[in-house]
């Protein structure tokens, strides 16, 4: 029984071994290309994941607000008339989302939504003794809010607990006010002042947030901010962060609320991430083109060098298809071996980055992982590139006239 590609495999391997230096150089070239592509993909992926985690770790994927107050014209414009008016935008007062309870239930049931949490937030002043700081006062339901920002995992001192009269502070604010867990501070919103017990300090990952955040129970904030029974926003977490924009649009179409996605709230960051992704894509494409050209040039030279051998094989009864496959297989072998070495090299580069590139605190800058799927993808891509690169030389070899090739 004939062995599949037995002839082609043996001849391809022998041809590659015969031109040893050429083969080694191009395999090293492919390995370098695959290593660059894999390493850059893993590096940028890790960087973007880390940036997103840090950004979204302290904020909701979607936030629903009451619609802005707008100035409405006193009377509709009459056709054929011109109205000259100077309209000043209305100052936005603190207002609750209408019927936020049923709305929360509706959003919770929305496809792709993982968690919803109500919040009452407004400006206030925190005081302890002589020290006072302007703060962002937020009233939350701790269990629900924990599902939005994983608050409990950010506790650096104390225990996250929000019973009536309790408060959780950002760690920088606690430091500014000189308070520790168990101390009391006064929170004032002007007409109303309340004293709260600090139960925990949290690190929200952003210094500015740590410097002004005070979390209190929902009811306490409603009372302090003069919005009894109200909620100024609903924070939403979605299953896939990249679907946030689409979910925001569908919510906007269905409910009379203002919806802001994390992408809209962080437009510059999203632009930076997109630019980074495009740049990485361009680098990968250029490297792959170089790899393809490298393999193709080596195989073109190989076809010229081996014209006589190809002629002998054709005279002995090798079909054009067999000759074609000998060279396609050489491309595939170069791609596969090069990609295997390249993946190993990428693993070394990732290890070196993690081991030697450290932040000012001595910890790795961000975690980079080489996903098996990425490695398989890179290896498959390089092998396919090898075959593609071999097409032109292989066709040239297969088209050689055996009588002429033997005479050379």
């Amino acid at each position: 029984m004939a062995t599949l590609l037995g002839f082609e495999r043996q001849v391809a391997i022998r041809f590659l071994r015969e031109g040893r230096m050429q083969s080694v150089l191009i395999i090293v070239g492919v390995a370098a290309g695959v290593a660059v592509v894999t390493y850059i993909t893993a590096l940028i992926g890790g960087l973007q994941r880390n940036t997103l985690e840090e950004t979204l770790g302290a904020q909701a994927h979607l936030t629903l607000y009451a619609p802005d107050d707008v100035v409405r014209p006193a009377a509709p414009r009459v056709d054929g008339t011109t109205t000259l008016a100077a309209t000043q935008a209305r100052a936005q007062r603190l207002q609750s989302i209408a019927n936020w309870g049923p709305l929360m239930d509706a959003v919770q049931a929305w496809p792709g939504v993982a968690a919803v949490s109500p919040m009452v937030t407004g400006a206030a002043l925190a005081q302890r003794g002589e020290a006072s700081r302007a703060i962002a006062l937020a009233g939350v339901d701790l269990d629900r809010y924990d599902r939005i920002v994983q608050l409990r995992s950010k506790v650096v001192a104390g225990t996250a607990r929000l019973a009536p009269g309790d408060a959780i502070l950002g760690q920088e604010l606690a430091s500014d006010l000189g308070v520790q867990v168990g101390d009391r501070i006064a929170v004032s919103t002007g007409p109303v002042t309340d004293t709260v017990l600090v139960t925990a300090l949290v690190d929200l990952g952003i210094r500015d947030l740590n410097r002004r955040t005070v979390l209190v129970p929902l009811r306490a904030a409603q009372s302090l901010l003069g919005l009894p029974g109200g909620a100024t926003r609903l924070d939403v977490t979605v299953d896939d962060v990249w679907q946030a924009q689409a979910i925001a649009q569908s919510l906007r179409a269905r409910h009379p609320v203002k919806v802001e996605s994390w992408q809209e709230a962080n437009a510059q960051l999203v632009s930076a991430l997109n630019a980074q992704s495009v740049s990485t894509g361009v680098i990968r494409a250029v490297v792959l083109v170089v790899v393809v050209l490298g393999i193709a040039s080596v195989l073109v030279v190989s076809v010229v060098q081996k014209q006589r051998e190809i002629g002998i094989l054709r005279a002995m009864g090798a079909t054009r298809g067999q000759v074609l496959r000998v060279f396609l297989l050489q491309g595939a072998i170069v791609g596969a071996v090069g990609s295997a070495l390249g993946v190993l090299l990428a693993a070394v580069l990732v290890w070196a980055f993690t081991a030697f590139v450290r932040g000012s605190d001595g910890a790795p800058l961000f975690p980079i992982t080489l996903e098996p799927a990425l490695l398989l993808q890179a290896a498959a891509l390089a092998t396919v590139c090898g075959v593609l690169a071999a097409i032109a030389p292989a066709r040239r070899a297969a088209a050689l006239d055996p009588a002429q090739a033997i005479r050379l």
């Binding site: 002839f7 043996q10 071994r17 009588a403």
Partner: protein, 243 residues
């Protein structure tokens, strides 16, 4: 009682009015073969001689299905092969023909034994134990039992030509075509290689068509065909191996 004479064996090769032109329709058009009629019977040992440019190599290429003829007819083992496409010609070459070239033309990356088992590798995609045994037997028959695992680069010219002869015969083709098989060898090696061809022919009764410049060697063939300017000008019996 009446008897009938035994029928003459059908020719292995039959060429009828074969013409070969290159660069047809161009200013440099050249007719290399001008109406060749030739029949080669099974078991013949035929020398093809003639001056340079007489069309010997072109005729050999046509016999070897390596080049198409411009007009005329070529029957190989009774089948008209003039109109076959490239794929069919390739398979016909693989099954029916063996080649020995002037410059040995072994694959340098393969050992002597691997070169001889190439036809099996081409045919089956693998080399079986029987193929290997056959290759060794032939290499031993051509005096290379000790050099089976050497690469062509490690062998002398004469040894390489013996490997090429073993390779041409390993799949028992009915016809072996040899293009100046001794042209690149010194006199001693040349005599040795030619004697080997003769011995292989005598043992197997394979048909041989040998292109040679050497009248001394041509005379030792069973039949000598001389080409001049693309025409057969002489076709007569040689003196055979004793000559």
């Amino acid at each position: 009682m009446t008897g009938t004479a035994p029928a003459a064996p059908a020719p292995l090769v039959e060429l009828a009015d074969v013409h070969k032109r290159y660069n047809v329709g161009r200013p440099n058009e050249a007719e290399v073969l001008r109406g060749i009629d030739l029949a080669v019977g099974p078991g013949e040992f035929l020398a093809l001689i003639g001056p340079s440019g007489s069309g010997k190599s072109t005729l050999l290429n046509i016999l070897g299905l390596l080049e198409p003829l411009t007009s005329g007819r070529y029957r190989l083992q009774g089948e008209d092969v003039s109109t076959l496409d490239d794929a069919a010609l390739t398979l016909r070459r693989r099954a029916t023909l063996g080649f020995v070239f002037q410059f040995h033309h072994l694959l340098p990356a393969f050992t002597a034994e691997e070169n001889v088992t190439l036809p099996a590798l081409l045919r089956d995609g693998r080399v079986g134990a029987a193929d290997r045994a056959r290759a060794r037997e032939l290499l031993a028959a051509v005096g290379l039992a000790q050099a089976m695992h050497k690469r062509p680069g490690e062998l002398s010219g004469g040894m390489q030509q013996r490997v090429a002869i073993a390779r041409a015969l390993v799949h028992d083709p009915p016809l072996v075509l040899a293009d100046e098989p001794t042209g690149n060898l010194d006199r001693a090696s040349s005599d040795e290689a030619f004697a080997l061809l003769r011995r292989m022919h005598d043992e197997r009764r394979t048909s041989f068509v040998v292109v040679t410049h050497d009248p001394r060697l041509a005379a030792r063939c069973d039949r000598v065909v001389e080409l001049v300017d693309g025409r057969v000008v002489r076709d007569e019996a040689g003196s055979g191996p004793a000559g």
